[in-house]
């Protein structure tokens, strides 16, 4: 199975590990990520103003590229997934945005939200299947206690993201189980890390991440996994507990026995 792949700005620079381990794992699991040619940055956050058009066009271009190839669009970064999925919802359901965006785009055929947007974790759950994933694990992570950190972007707003139960998600816990480790469920796993506030007001994100770290450590987690480069950065700048934080793809590569082969 071949998917259109949208890496996003951070995965080719600071978050190379999220990208490289994900691509390598995809090969082992029997699907291919075909990078969208000349993709443009999604902007990192979804433009909330209902009259915003220009800030959504980079997502529309990627979505239309996938549509023309007849492929689903896959992302690894939580933020890219969030932005592209919400823009796709606008193109499908909001006539005003669809009309005005298409007026800009001048496509052979107007884009109306036809592309299916998937996060890599959804490919693992819904296409590969966690049972199949479990069979491909050669290095089960026995005895490891791992906390899933979801953050905001994968879960909310749940009526559009439709990723998992926004208050009691389990996809990452099921993923952790498939790799042979033990998931640690803790209350702050879907609370915000501070996001972009850490640029100008580092103390705010630090205090939020301290709560997350304390919560995870208090429930017995020995490490955290995330799908978001900004969550990883903010959590690494917290000052309490200091559990190691890695991308979920790094853990996946380790369990599949390919971690050492991947060059970053």
């Amino acid at each position: 199975m071949k998917y259109s792949y949208y890496p996003g700005c951070t995965l080719s620079t600071k978050a190379k590990a999220l990208d490289a381990y994900g691509r390598a794992a995809a090969q082992v699991l029997g699907f291919e990520l075909e990078e969208i040619k000349d993709w443009q940055c999604c902007g990192g956050v979804y433009p909330l103003g209902s009259d915003e058009i220009a800030t959504k066009l980079s997502s529309v271009r990627a979505l239309n590229d996938a549509k023309e190839k007849g492929q689903d669009l896959v992302t690894l970064c939580s933020a890219c997934h969030h932005v592209i999925k919400r823009v796709n919802d606008d193109m499908k359901n909001v006539e005003d945005i669809r009309t005005r965006a298409n007026n800009y785009m001048k496509l052979a055929e107007p884009y109306a939200g036809e592309t299916n947007v998937l996060h890599f974790l959804e490919v693992l759950r819904d296409r590969v299947g966690f049972d199949e994933l479990k069979k491909k694990v050669v290095n089960p992570l026995k005895g490891r206690k791992i906390g899933a950190y979801y953050g905001c972007l994968l879960l909310r707003p749940s009526n559009i993201l439709a990723f998992d139960n926004p208050e009691n998600p389990k996809i990452l816990e099921d993923f952790i189980r498939a790799l042979g480790a033990e998931p640690v469920i803790y209350p702050y796993r879907n609370e915000c890390c501070g996001g972009y506030i850490s640029l100008k007001e580092k103390d705010m994100s630090k205090s939020m991440c301290n709560k997350i770290m304390d919560s995870a450590a208090g429930f017995g987690a020995e490490m955290l996994i995330t799908a978001c480069p900004l969550c990883l950065y903010n959590l690494n700048n917290s000052t309490n507990q200091q559990l190691p934080v890695v991308y979920f793809t790094e853990l996946l590569a380790e369990a599949l026995g390919i971690k050492e082969e991947v060059s970053l």
Binding site: G44, C152, R156, P157, P166, Y196, K200, C228
Partner: protein
């Protein structure tokens, strides 16, 4: 001079939010991770728009403390979407020339070797046009 009535209409148009749906339960403020830093709390923000007191909102600290984490939106029993109202008030400020909250000149001293590009693009999108 633009009237407060018109500015309240603009906030409602940009956000697509009807503040009259609010039943003042305060759940948005209870769940907001930035609550302590906000001078006008999320549930109050909704009332300010209802009362057409936009001048207070565009000058509030809250505009720059909201994380767009959507906890208030997800957990609102009336689907009011306070976070979208806050963003709309932020847009009223940012859409005026010279009113950005982040200047490229500030960036060099905010950088560190681990800082992800995602943080810069997100902040630029939320803090300026």
């Amino acid at each position: 001079m633009i009237t407060e009535k018109r500015r309240a209409e603009m906030v409602k148009e940009i956000s697509g939010v009807n503040p009259l749906k609010c039943m003042k339960c305060g759940k948005c403020s209870a769940t907001c991770p930035s609550f302590n830093e906000m001078d006008i709390k999320p549930h109050q923000f909704v009332s300010y728009v209802q009362n057409e007191n936009i001048e207070a909102l565009v000058n509030s600290k809250s505009l720059w403390k909201c994380l767009s984490c959507f906890a208030c939106v997800e957990r609102c029993p009336r689907d009011v979407k306070p976070g979208k109202l806050i963003d709309a008030a932020r847009q009223l400020v940012l859409r005026e020339r010279g009113k950005e909250y982040l200047s490229p000149d500030e960036i060099p001293e905010l950088l560190d070797p681990e800082l992800p590009q995602q943080l810069l693009v997100s902040a630029f999108r939320r803090y300026r046009r």
